[in-house]
């Protein structure tokens, strides 16, 4: 009526809600797959299963890209959430970068094949778990931003907690690597991997900080 497409507006809204939920699901799932990939690599090295899982991450990243573009197009074409549109789009872009970081790490394992001695396995897996927990908390924060802004602060606090935890684990592991008898080039190579994994938490924390600001802006 009068150029105001009520039915299609609500249809579009539900579709967009589903897509944003799906996007957050992907971020969460990529983390879980990444954790399995690292364990698998440490136990079996490069295997067919490992390659399959890396391919799975690539597929997820590409799906997330498609969703970001679709959400961006719909938000602008239908002039939806004019007051929060730029915040939402920036949020999706930064989350997409996070998925990209997971994917990058997977590729680096696959291409560079780092040789982690057994003594570091437990610490590396533990670091990966903390990183995944951190991103999981970020996913909760994002969902809260869309549905329940009063919970954003609590959820964002968990992200900060895991980020600090990850920093401690990173420092400890890096110290162990450099205290070991490994040759310097291998030490540098391993440190590079540990640092790249830890950076995921830094990015997650930055996004959580942004969300807290967006949530304040969302108050009526």
């Amino acid at each position: 009526m009068f150029g105001f497409k009520t039915e299609s507006l609500f249809g579009q809204t539900k579709q967009l809600e589903r897509e944003i939920d799906q996007f957050v699901d992907i971020l969460s799932e990529v983390g879980l797959v990444f954790k399995s990939i690292v364990s698998l690599y440490l136990n079996n090295g490069n295997s067919d299963k490992f390659d399959g899982m890396v391919e799975q991450v690539r597929g997820m990243e590409s799906k997330a890209d498609k969703i970001t573009k679709e959400v961006e197009r719909t938000l602008y074409e239908e002039t939806l959430i004019p007051d929060a549109r730029s915040d939402v789009l920036r949020l999706l872009e930064h989350m997409d970068e996070l998925i990209g970081m997971y994917q990058g790490n997977c590729y680096h394992f696959s291409i560079q094949k780092p040789d982690f001695p057994k003594e570091f396995h437990r610490d590396l897996i533990s670091l990966c778990e903390t990183v995944v927990n951190c991103v999981e908390s970020l996913c909760l924060t994002v969902r809260s931003f869309f549905r329940d802004t009063k919970s954003v602060r609590d959820d964002a606090h968990k992200v900060t907690f895991y980020e600090k935890e990850s920093d401690i684990q990173f420092s400890s592991l890096a110290r162990k690597i450099f205290d070991s008898k490994l040759p310097l080039d291998q030490k540098m190579h391993l440190r590079y991997f540990v640092e790249k994994i830890d950076r995921i938490c830094d990015q997650a924390e930055d996004i959580a900080d942004e969300i807290q600001i967006y949530a304040i802006k969302r108050s009526i």
């Binding site: 105001f4 009520t6 809204t13 959430i81 939402v88 931003f145 549905r147 009526i220």
Partner: protein
């Protein structure tokens, strides 16, 4: 119909156009300013509902305005309308949401002074007091609704997109209600001075469609307002929507609904009769300023937010316009009556 009658009616239609360009922007200004509703959609809905309000519920406020000064010759009514219209047009040029109500009241008082007719001071005081009350009531309603809405939203887990969709729908409904109330309340400004001297005869088609001569004037006036909305209101809409205070879409809805309630209450014979029936003092049916209502509501919300976000400079400029406008309208009316009487030899009063 005599051609001169049509020419004189054009004065009212011009005022209607001014009202559409200026006051009607208040109804959808916040929605368009916050980009929640497209201007085109707002203009069409506003136009239709303004006409409906004018034709269905426009009689109450017209009666009150008639008591202020009964202009009894068509050229006199023409001059009053042109004066008010010109005054509003000048202020609109500066992007200020001024009030047609104050312009027409200034013009009628100008006519009274020029013709030596007495101004009904009691009615004038009632009208002016509603000007003061109107933004205060709108502000209080907005504060109440804002507090309630904030509380509801706090405990609700609506997705941001769903909330956005509902807000758009509510803004459209509130805008339609606001446009209806504006038509009902402000049609008196446009056509009120013509009612006692209406050139039309009642129309009755097989007892199905009945339109009194006043009703036909209201229909014409309503159409003029609608044309004003479509052709010239965009600039003021954007001023109201974003310049005074940055509003969230939900706050924009609260502003529009608060404004609409005030205009409806001051135009509703039903509410007035109901209050009378339960022995409460009835509300005077007075054409109030939609600009004042909207500014009152926006400032009410601004105060709740701590008052820091309200751009008081713009609010002050708008308030200044309220004082200047009736004076300018009275002066222009005085001047145009002089010209009509002495240059065009028109009878401006009996």
């Amino acid at each position: 119909m005599d051609l001169t009658i049509i020419v004189f009616l054009l004065g009212g239609l011009f005022l209607g156009w001014s009202l559409g360009a200026n006051d009607a922007a208040n109804v959808f200004g916040t929605a368009v300013g916050t980009r929640m509703i497209r201007f085109q959609t707002a203009a069409i809905v506003c136009g239709i509902f303004v006409i409906l309000g004018a034709v269905i519920s426009g009689a109450g406020t017209t009666e009150t305005l008639g008591k202020l000064g009964s202009i009894n010759a068509l050229p006199g009514a023409f001059a009053a309308c042109v004066a008010a219209g010109l005054a509003v047009y000048l202020m609109t040029k500066f992007g200020l949401p001024v009030s047609t109500t104050q312009a027409i009241v200034g013009a009628i008082v100008g006519w009274n002074i020029y013709t030596g007719s007495s101004t009904n001071i009691q009615v004038l005081i009632t009208i002016i007091s509603t000007w003061v009350l109107c933004p205060i009531i709108a502000g209080l309603i907005a504060m109440f609704l804002f507090t309630i809405t904030k509380r509801i939203l706090r405990y609700n887990t609506l997705h941001i997109l769903r909330l956005d969709a509902y807000t758009r729908l509510l803004l459209l409904l509130a805008g339609a209600f606001g446009a209806y109330s504006l038509g009902a309340n402000n049609i008196a400004n446009v056509m009120g001075v013509f009612v006692p001297i209406s050139p039309f005869t009642d129309i009755n088609i097989m007892n199905i469609l009945y339109l009194s001569s006043a009703g036909q004037l209201f229909l014409l006036g309503g159409i003029a307002i609608a044309v004003g909305v479509v052709t010239y209101s965009k600039k003021v809409m954007l001023t109201v929507g974003s310049d005074l205070l940055r509003l969230s879409p939900v706050a924009a809805f609260i502003v529009v609904i608060s404004h609409s309630i005030v205009l409806f209450v001051f135009a509703s014979q039903g509410i007035s009769n109901f209050l009378n029936s339960i022995n409460l003092p009835s509300i005077p049916l007075v054409p109030v300023s939609s600009s004042q209502a909207i500014v009152g509501a926006i400032i009410g919300i601004g105060i709740l937010k701590g008052g820091k976000e309200v751009k008081w400079g713009i609010a002050g400029r708008i308030a200044l316009g309220w004082f200047i406008l009736p004076v300018i309208a009275a002066l222009i009316a005085f001047l145009s009556l002089f010209v009509l009487q002495n240059i065009f030899n028109q009878t401006i009063s009996f």
